[in-house]
Symmetry: C2
Subunit: 231 residues, 2 copies
Amino acid sequence: MNEKKGVCICEGCEFRDVVFSHLDDNSIQDLCNHKEEQSLSKGEVINHEGEKISNFKYLKSGLVKLYRRTPSGDEQIITITRPFEFVSNMSIFSEERYQYSVSALEDSVVCMVKLEFIKELFLKNGGFAMGLLSKISVINDKIIGQTLDIRQKNLVGRVAYVLLYFTREIYNSRVFDLPVSRKEIADYIGMSTANVIRTLSDFKREGIIRVFGKTIEVADIEKLENISRHG
Amino acid sequence: MNEKKGVCICEGCEFRDVVFSHLDDNSIQDLCNHKEEQSLSKGEVINHEGEKISNFKYLKSGLVKLYRRTPSGDEQIITITRPFEFVSNMSIFSEERYQYSVSALEDSVVCMVKLEFIKELFLKNGGFAMGLLSKISVINDKIIGQTLDIRQKNLVGRVAYVLLYFTREIYNSRVFDLPVSRKEIADYIGMSTANVIRTLSDFKREGIIRVFGKTIEVADIEKLENISRHG
DNA sequence: GGTTATTATTGATATTGATCAGTCAGGACG
DNA sequence: CGTCCTGACTGATCAATATCAATAATAACC
């Protein structure tokens, strides 16, 4: 978990456009001086459920999962998301502590700024505040929508749904390396690991997907969409 | 659907403390002059999924359900909530149109202000912006948490969970009139109506609840908690 | 490069929940 | 007061999914 401080290359940061477009160059420079970057390897945890929130964080590169632990000790994955979709946890302004954990599914870089600093900015600058609120709302809506989508489908529909999610939202490619284990897919869609595997095997047998180790190719995306829609 | 305009009794409004505590008396008066109240009878719809968002709305009194329609035409209830917990839809600042529908489960009063007006206030007044963001975050976290809680339980656990939800969060009483049909409970917890009814009958048989028509009394709340926790 | 530990896979079986069909009870209304 | 209609309820059966157990395939590690 390697940390760099103050290295300011914000000019090229994609996130700038999303939330920070309301800041002038001075404010951005100021922000840069307050930011820290953190490189994380696959598997490392970014936030722990229950930990005190002290930084505003966003994902600069990589891929993360947002999850919590159920009373029975299982992991429940809330969402999987890539850069700029993920702004800290949702609740940074309303809660003292993280509601959920976040960890890296691929090597990732997280950018962080002291929460106090962001709060001041938020209070001073209405445009920034509005941009941030919009961003957080969109993320929340996405999570809620996803959860409801999944809830309303059956096993095969859910598996098809995640495959399409990786294809479209995460990798934007019909061929990709699965960044999660079968068990993690199961934790995400709320089904048993054995049945996730079985369903993937079925898809393989029917020629809907091809599997080479961790690499998956979606061969028949229309069929997958149909299954996801009607499942 | 009866509308009153400009009647300003904001001094007594509980919502004021929640979000509007950052406004001075003038701003509040100004806000009052821009607000409209709407009385709705049980069953009436407050927002339609897909409709254009033009007002900031909050629930002054009553009880509402937030729901959407699945592709197959079933209703999927996202949450059931009482006054001050519900601030318009989440996405008022990020989306053009409502993502979900909202309708009244009991006679309700909704207070509304033109969205433009709230946006201006948001831009001008950082404290107000922060208050609003916090409120929206809390609501979102609650919805996400609830949905995850439900997802992770089995049939009996889910039914126990909603009964406890009504007891604790909605009515704060072990005796209450169910504001929803059995089918709505089913749409809420994602199970079939028949099985919801069966489970309620089981609870009745085991002496965990008593049922007099629409009225429910939770007789053994510890047992219900156990079922909810382990179910 | 062999050994060990995980993770993936599959089949058999047990549970859980959905569906279907039918009855019942209560309210709305002529 | 009867009839219609809707929501509540129940039993029987069927379908979906979980669980358990036993290998196979991979990855991790000395």
